[in-house]
Symmetry: C2
DNA sequence: GAGATTCTCCACCGATTGCGGGAGAAGAAC
DNA sequence: GTTCTTCTCCCGCAATCGGTGGAGAATCTC
């Protein structure tokens, strides 16, 4: 039997969800909460398998409550499924960063919602399709491969790129020389060439370039 | 009517998918391809709404084919739904970075697959639950908020943090002074203090710190 | 073999930088 | 009122740094 905690500040929504859940043989609603503080307390009391969490609530909101719940080692077995009327990037990403296992809109069909509860209880994750789209878009834009390396990087020789990496670690010329087992003069030459090619005045600007081009992380 | 292109190197899989799709009133299979090159050619010929794409194929694989298709402005209306037997991070993330709108496993139920095709055709995204979990985990670990700022950042005064940001832009002391409308001597003092507090020897090391602490991007 | 590229090293010079130390003014905290 | 913090500014010194020019050796290309 999968136990569910319902968190929503609207009585009607809670009643509807409870009715839906209790009508299923394998699901049971073990509690309700109307705000974030209640939610955390109820979660500690009941240790539900799944917590249906609304976002917009007075006082401690759903995202903060989710953070507190997922941060609590005692509640590691409780999964949070965020359920909201509004689909905003901030909500979607905030919920996932807060540790939510799922994100659905309230206009989801009852069948979908029940399926989501079961999936989340099994440890899987599930997002509304539009939320998935947002997440994917964000993921792609965050991906390092999207950040194509500056074309100027190709003008550097192999050795110069190597030196650039070391500069980006904060090493001075002497340390670079040690690492590469060359004379300090050589290290300086490479650094100088890299600066000319990349239009940098400083080694500091080299570091900036290295990070922004994705050479360093 | 939603048009579908099936790409898979196994005849049996293509036959099964075609039968499934053509049995639906609102879906029709307009073509098949057995490898990546065929897939791109067939897509250009038929402009399908949705392309079911296998990953593992000889020659040009599904991910590369997906990249070529999504990179083609002529094929902007075609959505790619990746369908594979193996769920590997590399496949999931690679598919999304390549521009896929969906990622499903071949053990998905026919009903789910059909639903996914319709959702993708509508411009939504859909992932297998386990793929969603991987994506969410990756997303959270990539998120800047996870990368908590170094505690040493708090030891800096407001002004010093400000100066640090400018150093991280590659500015020298004089330029920093101009920006903040103070004398170069003041800028140098702030930079020096920041270096002492952060244990940096160079302004280059300051830049490294700024990027790694998330102060700069 | 000639030419191009790359990696290696050196010398010199001026400029910026980092370091130490000092100091005044304004505001907050006690 | 005193103390603390922060922001502001200055001087001098040694070190590193960046710029310029030159040069030998190895490798690869044509």
């Amino acid at each position: 039997m999968t136990t569910v905690l319902i968190v929503d500040d609207q009585d009607l929504v809670r009643i509807g969800l409870r009715t839906l859940i209790d009508s299923e043989d394998d699901l049971t609603c073990v509690g309700e909460a109307a705000d974030g503080l209640d939610a955390v307390a109820a979660a500690r009391r009941h240790h539900p398998d799944v917590i249906l969490m609304d976002v917009r609530m007075s006082g401690v909101d759903g995202l903060e409550a989710t953070r507190r719940i997922t941060a609590d080692p005692q509640l590691a077995t409780s999964k949070v499924l965020v359920l909201t009327t509004f689909e905003i990037d901030e909500y979607v990403f905030g919920a996932l960063r807060a540790g939510a296992s799922g994100f659905l809109l309230k206009d989801t069909s009852p069948a979908e919602l029940l399926r989501a509860i079961r999936l989340v209880a099994e440890g899987e994750a599930l997002l509304a399709p539009s939320a998935t789209r947002r997440l994917v878009r964000e993921f792609v834009s965050m991906s390092p491969r999207t950040r194509q390396p500056h074309p100027q990087l190709d003008t550097l020789t192999e050795r110069e790129r190597e030196v650039l990496c070391l500069v980006a670690e904060g090493l001075n010329n002497e340390e670079i020389a040690e690492r590469l087992v060359v004379s300090p003069a050589t290290a300086r030459t490479h650094v100088s060439r890299a600066m000319v090619k990349l239009g940098a005045r400083d080694r500091a600007q080299l570091v900036v370039f290295a990070y922004q081009s994705g050479l360093a992380d």
